[in-house]
Symmetry: C2
Subunit: 142 residues, 2 copies
DNA sequence: CAATAGTTTAGAATTATTATAATGTAGATT
DNA sequence: AATCTACATTATAATAATTCTAAACTATTG
């Protein structure tokens, strides 16, 4: 965790111009110990809270999608009503807390290898991901 | 597959009034051999193609969500840009064809039992579902 | 220091979904 | 069968998320 990660270089490497807005977004997203999950709304709030300047919503959308295309971010679909993004771009599974609507990572090593007996002819498997929906234990004794 | 399924009774059983709109939606959804996946848009098209009368979009939304709440339909999240529904309400897995954006069922029996080693304290598992993303085999030799 | 290609921005446009409120209807009551 | 009432449908308006637009700005190149 270098104090001042060189996001300029990182951005250049993938052909994105290191503008101050993109560097700011990089800082919010990647200048931390652990990966995390966020919605566009979360990100906009984080930026406006942690920084003094405001960034246009369009720029946030554009940059997030540019990062997604470059493989810097991963989009997670759990709730069709919200778009979640993940700074952990590796293939992994999730718990989704239906009480808090929180996403929690689950490493591939936390789940035994998944064996799929069926296959689709002419198609190749790109990813296999598990979504485990969880909820509070005490409200289940109906 | 009775020719004229008694949707009126079915609707009454769960406390929904059997209006002609709901019966029409039932026919489109359940008067077939196999379960299937659809978006609201698909459903509206199906109704207007198969039937002569038009049903208000609001009614389609309301009815689909009423059915979902009653457990007659299940919502599937794969693509945050689209809401898919499933007339197969049992717990099952899916293949998602990234070329055609088509959802294909995968029975629980087609995948070996999934063993989750991690658990979230205080939380109970509600469901474990797998999403297998597939794509054409020949475009993968980049 | 231009010139240029790429970027940001505010605001408009689009799309999906939900809310509203007036009208209609199924089923019960007389 | 006429009337009543709660629930439904409908057209339309409102909202929310996302994308588009086109003008202003800026990082890089020469
Ligand atoms: Mn997207
Ligand atoms: Mn829904
Ligand atoms: Zn994750
Ligand atoms: Zn299905």
């Amino acid at each position: 965790m270098p104090k001042n990660c060189n996001f300029i270089e990182k951005l250049r490497e993938v052909g994105l111009r290191p503008t101050k807005q993109r560097i700011k977004i990089c800082e919010v997203l990647y200048n931390r110990e652990k990966t995390f999950h966020f919605t566009i709304n979360d990100l906009v709030k984080m930026i406006s809270e942690k920084m003094n300047e405001k960034i246009s919503l369009a720029t946030v959308y554009n940059t997030v999608h540019a990062f997604e295309k470059k493989g810097y971010l991963k989009e997670i679909s759990i709730d069709s009503h919200k778009s979640y993004f993940d700074t952990n771009t590796s293939s992994h599974h999730h718990f989704f807390d239906e009480d808090t609507h929180e996403l929690i990572d689950c490493d591939e090593s936390d789940i035994d290898k998944i064996n799929i007996k069926k296959n689709i002819t002419g198609k190749k498997i790109n990813s296999v991901e598990v979504l485990v929906r969880v909820a509070s234990d005490n409200q289940t004794q109906k």
